[in-house]
C-alpha cells in the first residue's frame, strides 16, 4: 500500500502537468497568431476574445438565459416522456416487443434532420427549440431507463413475490431504485444532446439565444465575439451536465460509480 505522501505527490504532479497543458494550449494560440498574422476579425488573440466577452457581457448573459431555458425545458420534457414511455413498455412487454425495435431504429437515425420541419410547424419562437432539444434528448433517456428497468437480478423478482409485493410495489421499491444509475447516466448524455439540439435549432432560425449570437457575430465577421459565445455555451453546457452529475452523487451514493473505496472494510478486519 503506497504511503499517503506518494499518492499526494502524484496528485500534485498531475495537477502541474494539467496546468502545463493549458499553458501550452494558450501559448500555441498566441504562436499561431505570431507566426501567420491572420487578420484580427478572422482569428482573434485570447486577449481579443476576453475583451469581446467583457464588452458583450450583458448580451451574453441574456442570450445564455434564453438558450439555457430552451435546453432545460427540452431536457425536462425529454425526461418526463422518456421515463414515462420506458416504464410503460416495461410494464407491458407485448407493447415493448412491438415498440422496442422501432425505438432502437429511431435512436440511430439523425433526429436533427427533422429540425427544419419542426421549426416550420412550431415557428421561430422558443417552443420549436424546446421541442427539438427534447426530441434529441428523448432517446438516451428512454433507452437507458428501459435497459435499467430490465437489468434487475431475476432472483429479485422471486424475492419480492415471496415478500408478497404487488406489481407496483415491485416497480417502486425494486425496479426503479435499481434502474436509477442507468437513468441518471442517460440523463447526463441527454443534457449534452439537448444543448446541441437547442443550438442547432437556433442556427436554423432564431432571433435570440447563444446560437443566434454566434451566427450574427459570424455574419458581422466578428470572430472574437463568435469564440466568446462558443466558450460561454460550452461552460453553460458543462454546468448543466455538472448539475446532473451532482444529482447523481446525491441520489445514488451507493452505486459503484460514486464510491471511492473499493476495498471492502471487512477484508481488512477479517471475516
Amino acid at each position: 500500500m503506497r504511503s499517503k505522501r506518494v499518492m499526494a505527490d502524484r496528485g500534485i504532479a498531475n495537477f502541474l502537468y494539467s496546468l502545463a497543458g493549458v499553458a501550452g494550449f494558450v501559448a500555441l494560440w498566441y504562436a499561431v497568431e505570431w507566426l501567420w498574422h491572420p487578420p484580427e476579425f478572422l482569428f482573434p488573440t485570447p486577449s481579443a476574445v476576453f475583451q469581446s466577452t467583457k464588452d458583450n457581457a450583458a448580451s451574453l448573459i441574456y442570450n445564455s438565459w434564453i438558450t439555457g431555458y430552451e435546453v432545460l425545458l427540452g431536457f425536462l420534457l425529454a425526461c418526463v416522456t422518456g421515463v414515462g414511455v420506458a416504464i410503460l413498455i416495461h410494464l407491458w412487454p407485448r407493447l415493448g416487443k412491438l415498440l422496442w425495435p422501432a425505438v432502437l431504429f429511431a435512436q440511430i437515425t439523425p433526429q436533427i434532420a427533422f429540425a427544419p420541419l419542426l421549426i416550420m410547424w412550431f415557428g421561430i419562437g422558443l417552443v420549436s427549440k424546446i421541442v427539438i432539444a427534447a426530441l434529441i434528448a428523448f432517446f438516451p433517456i428512454l433507452v437507458n431507463t428501459y435497459v435499467g428497468l430490465q437489468a434487475i437480478d431475476e432472483a429479485a423478482e422471486d424475492l419480492a413475490r415471496c415478500m408478497l409485493a404487488g406489481r407496483f410495489r415491485y416497480l417502486l421499491e425494486f425496479e426503479l431504485p435499481n434502474a436509477l444509475p442507468h437513468i441518471l447516466s442517460g440523463m447526463k448524455i441527454a443534457m449534452t444532446y439537448a444543448v446541441v439540439g437547442a443550438v442547432v435549432a437556433e442556427f436554423i432560425s432564431s432571433n435570440n439565444g447563444l446560437g443566434n449570437m454566434i451566427l450574427v457575430a459570424n455574419g458581422a465577421l466578428d470572430a472574437a465575439s463568435c469564440i466568446s459565445s462558443v466558450i460561454l455555451l460550452s461552460l453553460m453546457g458543462g454546468a448543466l451536465f455538472g448539475t446532473v452529475a451532482v444529482f447523481e452523487r446525491l441520489l445514488i451514493p451507493w452505486h459503484i460509480s460514486q464510491r471511492r473505496q473499493t476495498v471492502r472494510s471487512s477484508e481488512a478486519v477479517g471475516n
Binding site: G21, P116, L117, F203, C226
Partner: protein, 273 residues
C-alpha cells in the same frame, strides 16, 4: 447469413408490422381535409416524390455520405492513435486532460459557423465538423478500452514473455476492441449529425442543404424525401460499423446478444457532442 436474417425478422418483424400499420393510418388520415391543411404529404406522395427525384437525392446523398465518412475515418485514425499515445504516456494524458475535457463539453456544432467563415462553403468545413464531433467518442472509448485490460490477462501475457508490439496486438487490442467499436458506432451517428448541421448552416450541396432549401420553398415532398434519405444514410452507415463488429469481434457479439444488446451502447461514453 439466412439464419441471421431469420433472427432479425423474429425479433423485429412485429415492430415492422406496427410501423406499416402506422403508415397506413397516416395514408388514410391524409385523405381527410383537416389533416391536409397541415401540409404534410401522405406516404404515397412522399414515395412518389422519392422515386421522381431519386437522382437528386442520390447525388446529394453521396455528398453528405462522403463528408460523413471522410470525417469519421479521419476521426477513427486520429482517435485510435490519440488513445494509444495517451495510454502510453500518463504524463501527456494528465497534461492534455483539461483541454480534452473542455473540448468534450463544447458542443462541436457551435463552431460550425466559424469554420464556414474560415473555410467557405465547400466540403472541407463539413468534413472537419464531422471529424471533430466523432473524434471524441472514439478517443474516450478507445482510451477506456485500452485501460481496461485486466490484471490476470496481464500476468498471463508476461508469463508467455509477450512484450511490446506483440503484447499490444495479441492482448491489449483484442480486449479493447469491443469498447473501440462501441465508440465507433456512436461516432458514426454523430458524424452524420455534424455533416448535416454544417450543411444546414451553409452549403450548396448535400442532403442537409436540400432540407433547408425545401423548407424555404415550402416543398414538403422534397423535404420529407431528403429527411428519409438522411435517415437511410445514417442507418446504413451505422449498419456498416455493426457489420464490422460482426467480423472483428464475433466472440463478443454472441456474448453480448445474451445480455441486453444496447446496454453497452448506452454505457459507452458519449464523449460529448
Amino acid at each position: 447469413m439466412l439464419r441471421r436474417a431469420r433472427a432479425l425478422w423474429n425479433s423485429n418483424g412485429r415492430s415492422l408490422g406496427a410501423v406499416l400499420v402506422i403508415l397506413l393510418l397516416w395514408e388514410l388520415a391524409c385523405r381527410l381535409p383537416p389533416i391536409q391543411s397541415l401540409g404534410l404529404p401522405s406516404p404515397e406522395a412522399t414515395a412518389n416524390g422519392l422515386i421522381a427525384r431519386w437522382q437528386i437525392l442520390v447525388s446529394h446523398g453521396a455528398i453528405t455520405g462522403y463528408e460523413t465518412l471522410v470525417g469519421f475515418l479521419v476521426a477513427l485514425a486520429g482517435g485510435l492513435s490519440g488513445a494509444v499515445v495517451l495510454s502510453l504516456s500518463p504524463r501527456l494524458a494528465a497534461a492534455l486532460w483539461p483541454t480534452i475535457l473542455f473540448l468534450q463539453i463544447m458542443p462541436k456544432v457551435a463552431i460550425a459557423p466559424l469554420l464556414l467563415l474560415w473555410l467557405g462553403f465547400g466540403l472541407l468545413p463539413k468534413v472537419i465538423i464531422a471529424f471533430l464531433i466523432s473524434f471524441f467518442p472514439i478517443l474516450a472509448n478507445a482510451y477506456a478500452g485500452l485501460q481496461s485490460v485486466d490484471e490476470e490477462t496481464n500476468e498471463l501475457a508476461r508469463s508467455m514473455h509477450a512484450a511490446g508490439v506483440r503484447y499490444f496486438l495479441y492482448f491489449t487490442l483484442p480486449q479493447a476492441l469491443p469498447r473501440i467499436l462501441s465508440g465507433a458506432r456512436i461516432a458514426i451517428t454523430f458524424a452524420v449529425v455534424g455533416a448535416v448541421v454544417a450543411e444546414f448552416i451553409g452549403a450548396d450541396k448535400g442532403l442537409g442543404y436540400l432540407v433547408i432549401l425545401s423548407a424555404r420553398n415550402l416543398d414538403m415532398g422534397l423535404m420529407l424525401a431528403a429527411i428519409f434519405t438522411l435517415t437511410c444514410l445514417g442507418v446504413g452507415l451505422y449498419g456498416l460499423v455493426s457489420l464490422a463488429e460482426h467480423y472483428l469481434i464475433p466472440w463478443h457479439i454472441s456474448r453480448r446478444r445474451a445480455e441486453m444488446r444496447d446496454l453497452s451502447e448506452t454505457r459507452a461514453t458519449a464523449g460529448g457532442l
